[in-house]
């Protein structure tokens, strides 16, 4: 135990003396947490709409002003013809074209049915899909308004569908992203720096000096893990405070539960960093390998794109990453207020990760070759 104390003392001195490392540990995450959620916004809003109004009737005017006031669309201007509107699509000034045929109002009343043409730039499928479905909803609304006016006596025959959005009633994308981004930041800081730190001792040669001392394997590993575990805890706490003060996200669930899960997660993550370090001889190698895996972890973690939509093999990859479970649990506890019984299974899996990764790393770390 006394040996461990000396190891920790040395580690903390080195960390706090490293002028390059401190900003990476404490300032970079803060800046990223302030910028990333502003940038990482999948909210489909501000869809640019090119309008071709061949009709110029009062209906077409009413429809366009209804679309304009919906808050989702930004009308970029009137085009005289479809090719002209296409130019706007090509230059990405517009995302969707709406074309109102000539004599729209007249035909609608006379014939009882009339088409409206939509054309969406579908290279970005999400935007095209959600954008045109918003438009469809607005059109349907507009349609029933007209119907009500023309046929006031007819009762609405459809089913009255009310929808409500739980846990995030204003559909604020940041509420979804901030907890996930916080996980990624803690992962980057602790995973990367822990791996690099150990490899650095290898590169410089000090690890050999430690290896000829009576320091035990577990003491050395604990001496490396505890400081970064504490840093992870501090970073996470700073992040939670920013989430609260800047983004107004107040965890619904139990904070002790959250920190309990975090502490297990950090052990698993540090085990992963340790594992990488045992397979690398230089910091550069460790960085390349860590970088490769962290990219997979981030992409597959469900941070941006839900794991539910993935094919089976994608789900398998996602489930093999400790990051996925923590992002899930973060969102569950912070946004939904899930309790212990709800996160029991992910917690057990995370514990398994911690045991396997650390066991593997300790097995691989040898004082004697």
């Amino acid at each position: 135990m006394r040996t461990l104390r000396f190891l920790l003392e040395k580690e903390f001195k080195q960390i706090f003396r490293d002028k390059g490392l401190l900003p990476v540990i404490f300032i970079m995450p803060v800046i990223q947490l302030l910028i990333m959620p502003l940038a990482a916004n999948f909210d489909v809003k501000n869809i640019n709409l090119a309008v071709i109004d061949h009709d110029h009737s009062s209906y077409s005017q009413q429809l366009l002003s209804k679309i304009g006031s919906s808050g989702y669309f930004h009308i970029t201007g009137n085009a005289a013809s479809f090719p002209e509107a296409m130019k706007q699509i090509e230059s990405e000034e517009a995302d969707i074209i709406i074309e109102i045929p000539a004599n729209f109002e007249e035909q609608l009343i006379k014939e009882g049915a009339e088409p409206i043409y939509l054309a969406a730039d579908a290279i970005n499928g999400t935007k095209a899909g959600l954008g045109s479905s918003y438009l469809n909803t607005i059109l349907a609304d507009f349609n029933s308004e007209i119907r009500m006016k023309l046929l006031p006596q007819q009762a609405n025959t459809g089913i009255d569908i009310r929808s409500s959005d739980w846990f995030n009633p204003y559909l604020n994308y940041r509420i979804y992203m901030v907890p996930g981004i916080l996980v990624i930041l803690v992962t980057m800081v602790c995973g990367f720096i822990a791996a690099l730190n150990i490899v650095k001792e290898k590169e410089v040669g000090t690890i050999e000096q430690i290896n000829v001392t009576p320091v035990k394997k577990w003491e050395f590993i604990m001496g490396k893990m505890i400081p970064f575990w504490i840093i992870g805890m501090i970073d996470f706490t700073i992040g939670l405070l920013i989430a609260r003060l800047v983004y107004g996200i107040i965890p619904v669930g139990n904070l002790f539960l959250l920190y309990g899960f975090l502490s297990v997660y950090l052990v698993a993550l540090l085990g992963f960093g340790l594992l990488i370090s045992t397979y690398s001889d230089t910091q550069l190698q460790a960085m390349f390998v860590a970088f490769f895996f962290i990219i997979i972890f981030i992409l597959m973690s469900g941070l941006f794109i839900s794991v539910d939509n993935m094919p089976v093999w994608g789900k398998v990859i996602a489930r093999l990453s400790p990051v996925t479970y923590f992002i899930d649990v973060m969102r569950m506890i912070i946004l939904k207020g899930s309790g212990f019984s709800d996160i029991k299974i992910p917690l057990l899996i995370e514990i398994a990760f911690a045991v396997i990764l650390n066991g593997w790393a300790i097995f691989n770390y040898r004082k004697t070759a």
Binding site: R2, T3, R5, F6, L7, E9, K10, K13, Q14, R17, D18, V204, G205, T206, E208, Q209, I210, N211, V212, T213, P214, V215, K216, K367, T368, A369
Partner: protein, 247 residues
């Protein structure tokens, strides 16, 4: 009970087809300064790493401070000091902090740490530098400090791997004074070097060629045996026959 600091019988290390250390046998007596010589790539460092418990021998047997190198590595580590070719103190810790750290992990008590630390700083004349980062010291001082730290826990044996590489002659002289002091206090010294004048300072030396020990005796006897004036000539006579090229 055991007056031999190191015993070594048929010690061999293979890396695949390559035999780095080929069946070497020797003994080092307690309290002596044992020079371990050889050209680059002759296998000195590999042999030394096996004795320090950093690497497992492929075959053969050896004991260090009475402990077996296969089974008692952790006990060996309690009884030895080691100073590697590469400078291995923490450059971003101060002189004092390095002393405290290494003393601490060798289990010195706080009182011992304080006393030894101060004694060491006084002896090296590092008073005004004690709060400086080690990285800022000149190489010669770093090496002297590294040696002092390697024996801070008064080990039975200290292993020095080319401790004076790249150091000026004056500092080398001072360094050897430190080695003699340590030997006087009862520490067995096991040292590799490329400087033949340093070889003369040793009680006994061995010369490794292509993984084997081709000569082992006192410097005086070796010179006589090879009819040489200086150790340099002895070394040339032996190393000329080497098949392995220097790295």
């Amino acid at each position: 009970m055991n007056e031999k600091a190191i015993t070594c019988k048929g010690l061999t290390k293979r890396f695949g087809d390559f035999i780095a250390v080929d069946n070497i046998s020797f003994e080092v007596n307690t309290g002596e300064i044992f020079g371990f010589l050889g050209a680059n790539g002759a296998g000195k460092t590999t042999a030394m790493r096996m004795l320090c418990g950093l690497s497992f021998p492929s075959s053969g047997e050896a004991t260090v401070a009475g402990y077996d190198v296969f089974t008692k590595q952790e006990s060996i580590k309690k009884n030895i000091g080691y100073m590697s070719q590469k400078f291995s103190l923490y450059e971003n810790l101060t002189v004092k902090e390095n002393i405290r750290f290494y003393g601490g992990i060798y289990g010195l008590t706080n009182a011992e740490l304080k006393e030894k630390g101060e004694g060491l700083i006084n002896k090296l004349g590092l008073h005004s530098e004690s709060k400086k980062l080690v990285g800022e010291l000149p190489l010669g001082w770093k090496q002297k400090l590294a040696f002092s730290v390697a024996i801070i826990h008064q080990p039975k044996i200290v292993f020095l791997d080319e401790p004076t590489g790249g150091v000026d002659p004056v500092t080398r002289r001072q360094f050897w004074d430190l080695i003699y002091d340590a030997a006087d206090s009862g520490i067995t010294i096991f040292v590799t070097t490329h400087y033949m004048d340093e070889a003369e300072y040793c009680n006994r030396i061995s010369i490794m060629v292509d993984g084997r020990i081709d000569a082992l005796d006192t410097p005086a006897n070796l010179k006589q045996q090879y009819k040489a004036e200086t150790m340099d000539e002895v070394f040339y006579a032996l190393a000329r026959g080497a098949k392995r090229s220097a790295d």
